[in-house]
């Protein structure tokens, strides 16, 4: 009775083996998706327009190999449809499968010669010559018994057309390591090494209760062991018994460690050097029954190199695992899982120097491992080593998943002296991650990049913009460890239809109404410099949070990541004032934090824009005053003798008046700074504090909390006046409009309208996080002194906001993403790619007057 089903691993490289016309392609088409099949004939055709061209074979093979490699890299099952009757041809496929850690599977279509020859005759396009098929079949038959030796892990053979026809399905079995459906919660336990008492204590500490000899958790949690259960410690059999019972009862998972594997070798009678605590295991197991020892052998032998849990979000392996090996199966994967990688060097304690795969890890999955004893578990690029050297007198540690909490119990004693002192770098000021983050990698920012954000979906950073950002970032920006946020650009309202106005509140309110916002907040807009302010209680807080040493208690940086202050001392003195206000207002305690990141406007404008004022605004004022005074004077003189110049005189008088207004407009934002209190800082967002970004709060919440802070030092801190507006209430809208008219009549910059909640989405995604409505007089600084002349204003009214708005949304999403990644304590590169993205987007060409 022929098989109706066959099984292959879900991730495998299937190599079809069979003579020409044996039916391989038909077979492949029947059981595999067209995209899964890489056919030599097809590749031949692609490179030569002739699928029978023998001359094209080499290039066709290169192409097939290239496609296959790309597919295997992506973790896709692939079928090689070629004769593959020679060992040389198969060898390459096996090598490729190993390179990508997928299992090679041989499916042999071993059909009678007669059948092949007959079928071949019906194919007029293929004249193989009479000798070819018999030769292929004889090669195939000779190959059959070597396939296993060649490295094929599964070999399936069909000998008759009937067998082929009887096959109904090829079933793809998940790999043993695939536990993606297991979502936990889990408690992952580090290297136990026979420390039974500590294990029991830890399991109880984790909340498990012993019921009928099994440890069970009321919340249904399960245990995961990272391996190295045995050797060195006092009670290896006890540990093995506990773990085996748990695993057999479906209450635990276990991956093998190098010690476990070596013990198995010894138990199987293989020759091993008895060292590194193996003797203890041997002695202790001697006390156990042969049946128990058999059970141990079977248990260790059945352990799977690593597990992939929770839809791929968690990987557990004894010595950790590179991303490209997750969920793969090969000897190399097993080897890596148990032994890790070494650099080939030997350290001063005579131990091999381990290759720091975690430092280069950029995967999304969390990797939990053991193997190397460390004094404290520390996160590095989403990986964590939880072997805290219990057997060396350290402690036994568990990581709670998904909570990411560490739970540990101390070792009862030092069972064994570690060759490499356990507490060697225990007092380094920076965490592993912070040390690692000292230098960012160029590969993470250059070229075209896509950043995934929670609110703005995927944001593409184009190569040319990344080029510009790299230069700015490298030449001018502050230490990237500070840069946890860059503010987005802000769009003005749609152009007003009212005479004399370019911007007016109506359009902003209308916009928010159409995107389903019911309530907005209007904040007075300050005219200074946009800054991000980070302040810590002290340098220690900064060191702990940001991993920055000797750069003071904080930083004030601009929207392009540059230092706001030219000298460090002024900056630190200024931050001290802010810090005092934070202390006095009880902010640190209220927010349970030792630092804060504020989004703010720092005034006066003239303090930072001095050169712009002198070279641009002041200069234009001076030039216009002189030029126009001369013109008006000459025209007045000419008017005495010639009335024809009168219209011209009027025109130039108006220009002169506009110039005065222009000068008046910018002067308002300038005042000399002689002492710290000449600066005014107006914060408007509390961006982040310890472990928390505050973008989930309403703007009213931000305003109120900031107000409270500002009261602590009104000399430097300035609360921003605001109004909350109900968009369904005309009176409320009118009141806000009147307020804007009042503010701008005084010459104010205007106001910013924001949706009540920091983040507001509607059916098309994010809505504008803020819209500015600038006052008539202020706009002279932007559009020039004469912009209000009707013929000028009418032309200026045709302006397009699309690009600016799109930019504002993308930058906003990136900024928020940066904050959230930072507060989640993600690696700096993940934060940096977002702020780098903001800077890159800023180099997109957009009308700067908007």
């Amino acid at each position: 009775m022929p098989n109706r089903n066959i099984h292959i691993p879900e991730l495998s490289l299937v190599v079809l083996i069979g003579a020409s016309s044996s039916g391989k392609s038909t077979f492949a088409r029947k059981f595999f998706k067209p995209t899964e099949i890489v056919s030599s004939d097809h590749c031949r055709a692609l490179v030569s327009d002739d699928e029978n061209s023998l001359e094209a074979s080499t290039d066709a093979f290169d192409l097939a190999r290239f496609i296959t490699a790309k597919r295997l890299k992506a973790g896709l099952l692939t079928v090689i449809d070629a004769t593959n009757v020679q060992e040389g041809a198969r060898k390459d496929w096996v090598r490729l499968a190993r390179e990508y850690h997928v299992l090679p599977v041989a499916i042999v279509i071993n059909m009678p010669e007669k059948l092949c020859s007959e079928r071949n005759k019906t194919r007029p396009d293929r004249d193989l010559g009479g000798h070819v098929i018999p030769q292929q079949i004889s090669q195939l038959k000779r190959s059959l018994r070597h396939l296993k030796l060649e490295g094929f892990r599964h070999i399936i053979e069909f000998r008759t057309p009937e067998e082929v026809d009887a096959l109904e399905a090829i079933i793809r079995d998940p790999l043993y390591n695939n536990k993606k459906h297991e979502k936990g919660p889990l408690d992952i336990i580090g290297d136990v090494h026979g420390c039974y008492d500590e294990l029991v204590a830890l399991v109880k500490e984790l909340g498990y209760e012993n019921k009928d000899g099994l440890y069970q958790h009321p919340a249904g949690r399960k245990l995961v062991f990272v391996g190295d259960l045995v050797d060195r410690g006092p009670n290896t059999p006890g540990v093995l018994r506990l773990v085996m019972n748990q695993v057999h009862a479906g209450l635990a998972y276990c991956v093998p460690g190098n010690h476990d594997a070596k013990l198995l070798k010894w138990m199987n009678g293989k020759e091993v050097t008895i060292a590194h605590g193996l003797q203890e295991s041997i002695d202790q197991l001697q006390q156990e029954t042969p049946a128990f020892r058999e059970e141990v052998k079977k248990f260790i032998d059945g352990l799977v190199s690593h597990y992939v849990f929770d839809d791929g979000k968690l990987v557990v392996a004894h010595a950790g695992l590179r991303e490209e090996m997750h969920g793969r199966g090969s000897g190399a994967v097993r080897e890596f899982c148990m032994y890790g990688e070494t650099t080939g060097e030997i350290d001063e304690y005579g131990l091999p120097v381990r290759y720091n795969w975690a430092a280069e890890y950029k995967g999304k999955a969390m990797v939990v491992y053991g193997h190397t004893p460390v004094p404290e578990p520390q996160w590095l690029n989403r990986t964590i080593d939880i072997d805290t050297g219990c057997v060396f007198g350290g402690k036994l540690t568990a990581l709670r998943y998904p909570e990411k909490e560490l739970v540990s119990v101390p070792a009862a004693r030092e069972y064994r002296v570690s060759k490499r002192p356990l507490h060697l770098n225990a007092n380094a000021p920076l965490t592993l991650q912070q040390q690692h983050d000292d230098v960012l990698d160029l590969a993470d920012v250059t070229g075209k990049h896509i950043v995934e954000t929670a609110y703005g979906n995927k944001i593409t950073i184009r190569e040319e913009n990344a080029i510009a950002a790299l230069e700015v970032m490298s030449r001018f920006a502050i230490n990237p460890k500070w840069m946890i946020y860059l503010p987005p650009t802000m769009s003005p309202s749609e152009t007003s239809k009212l005479d004399g106005y370019l911007e007016y509140p109506t359009e902003a309110f209308e916009y928010y109404k159409t995107v389903g916002v019911e309530k907005v907040i209007c904040e007075e807009k300050h005219m200074g410099s946009r800054v991000v302010v980070i302040v810590g209680r002290d340098e220690k807080a900064i060191l702990q949070t940001f991993g920055i040493e000797k750069e003071g208690i904080g930083v004030v940086y601009t929207r392009t990541g540059r230092n706001y202050f030219n000298d460090k001392k002024t900056e630190q003195d200024f931050l001290l004032l802010v810090n005092n206000a934070l202390e006095r207002s009880g902010f640190y305690d209220r927010f349970q934090t030792s630092w804060v990141c504020l989004d703010a406007e720092l005034m006066p404008w003239s303090a930072k824009a001095q050169s712009l004022l002198e070279s641009q605004y002041g200069s234009v004022g001076a030039a216009a005053t002189q030029g126009l005074s001369g013109a008006v004077e000459a025209l007045q003189q000419a008017a005495v003798r010639n009335e024809a110049v009168l219209p011209l005189l009027e025109k130039y008088k108006l220009k002169k008046e506009q110039t005065n207004q222009f000068i008046h407009a910018y002067r308002r934002y300038c005042w000399p700074v002689h002492k710290l209190t000449d600066y005014k800082l107006a914060p408007f967002h509390i961006l982040a504090t310890e472990g928390k970004s505050w973008v989930d709060q309403s703007h009213e919440w931000h305003m109120e909390n900031i107000q409270q802070l500002c009261e602590a030092d009104p000399a430097v801190l300035m609360a921003t006046p605001f109004r909350t507006v109900d968009l369904s209430d005309e009176a409320s809208i009118q009141e806000a409009t009147d307020w804007w008219l009042f503010l701008t009549a005084k010459g104010g910059e205007g106001m910013v309208v924001k949706p009540f909640h920091y983040i507001h989405t509607h059916k098309k995604g994010l809505v504008q996080p803020a819209i500015k409505i600038r006052g008539q007089e202020y706009l002279r600084i932007i559009y020039g002194p004469e912009y209000t002349t009707p013929e000028n204003l009418n032309r200026l009214k045709s302006r397009a906001l699309g690009a600016k708005r799109s930019l504002a949304l993308r930058e906003f999403a990136l900024g928020v993403e940066a904050l959230e990644r930072f507060t989640r304590k993600e690696p700096l590169r993940r934060v940096h790619e977002c702020v780098f993205g903001v800077l890159a987007l800023e180099s997109e060409p957009v009308d700067p007057r908007l």
Partner: protein, 478 residues
């Protein structure tokens, strides 16, 4: 925007004939960027005053294509002094408004054309780059006496200082054609800012309008250079035509480089040669020039057969484009092309592409980074890239006192973030060597002064680490 010309020539009305503009009318002339008006505030028996008033459309100015080159989106263009000052727009207006006079014609009174008259010219607001000295240099050789008044940036903020705008009054006795040709060329030369033109035909205009006086003007190099807006190739072409065999290509004005005046070129070459020699001596086969700029060192390295792989890296894409042009990379024979590669990169990000080189050079690079960011640079170079040899040059701050132009504490270049004394450089270098297991030697570049040392200091680092399995050690027999 306002040019006032007064003549006391008798009869004063002759001026209006010469200018071909009726004194009782307001004349309007269309310009590509707005209009110009001509009117006469005063016409009496003894005095005639004519005004040329520009009315430049500030919105049109920005929208017009073919405007000033560079970043079309710089905010500065929108708030612009151009409508209010005398600039190249004024020249364009002069040519259009007074074309007959400029061409030396006068239909009604042709005899007036060659009459030298007493003129007083007032320009209400003219930006002058270089201030009074430049004005003198430009106008005095032509016989003018001047009065000038400089205006503050904003009288409400005296601390902002003086602006670059002057009210300029010029007096001279000359023909109207001479007067107009002087103004036509010298107004934009004073301004030295955006010119709303630049092209091949500008040379012709310059030569035509200046034919009688420019060749003998002592400031002709400055005039040509500025008039053609620093387009050196155009400027050189014009100078060639002007001066035939007197050419001197190096008569440029100083840019943002603060020092190293005539020594500059020599020292720069010396420095590069010294670095090249170190790399040659180091027996390096693969070299990377970190901060290669416009590729001057790369050019020297290409000439040495010893170097099999030469990589130039810079953070400025613009520089790399210039380097590509200068090295004529596209035109090199294939074998040469394969030896050299340019790429954008940064010294504050680690970069796998620069790992494994025999040698790296950082020529006048470190001083362009904030001192605090050097912590990243040193890791990028010495911890990750780990070349066998590293050659670093940087200015020797002690030498600065030998530059007359530099004030105490001032640095040589506006983008230098620091300049180190020899002791400071060596302190840094020694720590690096210690921390990353390199040996280091310091060498002066250029003539060494007994007291302050050489202009440039150089450190040559060599790794003490043997890395087995890296072929660079095989190629580098040390």
């Amino acid at each position: 925007m306002l040019l006032t010309i007064t003549s006391t020539h008798q009869p004063a009305a002759d001026l209006s004939y010469l200018l071909h503009k009726h004194p009782d009318k307001v004349h309007q002339i269309d310009l590509s960027t707005g209009s110009a008006y001509i009117f006469y505030p005063e016409v009496s028996a003894g005095k005639c005053t004519v005004c040329l008033l520009l009315d430049i459309d500030p919105i049109g100015l920005v929208r017009r294509s073919g405007g000033p080159r560079g970043n079309d989106f710089a905010l500065e263009q929108y708030v612009n002094d151009r409508p209010y000052v005398a600039s190249s727009f004024m020249s364009a207006a002069i040519v259009k408004a007074f074309s007959t006079a400029m061409n030396g014609r006068c239909k009604d009174k042709p005899e007036l054309v060659s009459v030298a008259m007493p003129f007083e010219v007032q320009i209400a607001a003219i930006p002058v780059s270089g201030g009074e000295a430049v004005l003198k240099e430009l106008f005095e050789p032509l016989g003018y006496t001047m009065e000038l008044q400089r205006h503050p940036v904003d009288p409400a903020f005296p601390e902002w200082g003086e602006s670059r705008y002057y009210t300029l009054t010029l007096k001279n006795i000359l023909t109207v054609q001479q007067l107009l040709s002087h103004l036509y060329i010298l107004i934009p030369v004073c301004d030295n800012d955006k010119h709303y033109w630049i092209g091949e035909h500008e040379i012709e205009k310059l030569l035509e309008k200046g034919k009688d006086w420019l060749a003998t003007h002592p400031a002709r190099a400055l005039i040509t250079m500025r008039y053609l807006k620093h387009q050196r190739s155009l400027a050189n072409q014009a100078m060639e035509i002007l001066l035939k065999d007197e050419i001197s290509g190096e008569e440029a004005e100083s840019g943002s480089e603060n020092a190293e005046p005539e020594e500059k070129k020599r020292v720069h070459d010396l420095r590069l040669e010294a670095v090249r020699d170190e790399l040659v001596q180091a027996n390096a086969k693969t070299v990377v020039d970190l901060g290669c700029g416009e590729g001057k060192l790369l050019k020297l390295l290409l000439a040495e057969k010893q170097f099999e792989t030469i990589v130039g890296m810079d953070v400025s894409y613009r520089c790399l484009e210039i380097a590509k042009d200068r090295l004529k990379l596209d035109k090199l024979p294939l074998a040469q092309q394969q030896r050299i590669r340019l790429m954008q990169g940064s010294l504050t990000y680690r970069d796998a592409r620069i790992e494994g080189f025999d040698a790296a050079a950082l020529v006048e690079v470190i001083e362009h980074l904030d001192e605090a960011r050097l912590a990243a640079l040193e890791k990028v170079v010495f911890r990750y890239a780990k070349p066998v040899d590293v050659v670093i040059t940087t200015p020797n701050a002690e030498y600065n006192k030998k530059f007359d132009k530099l004030q105490a504490g001032q640095m040589r270049h506006s983008d230098h973030r620091f300049e180190w004394t020899r002791a400071e450089f060596q302190q840094w270098g020694n720590r690096i060597a210690e921390e990353y297991n390199y040996s280091v030697q310091y060498k002066p570049v250029g003539e060494e002064d007994a007291e302050v040392g050489a202009l440039t200091q150089m450190a040559v680092f060599t790794t003490k680490q043997m890395i087995i399995g890296k072929n660079r050690f095989l190629s580098n027999a040390k």
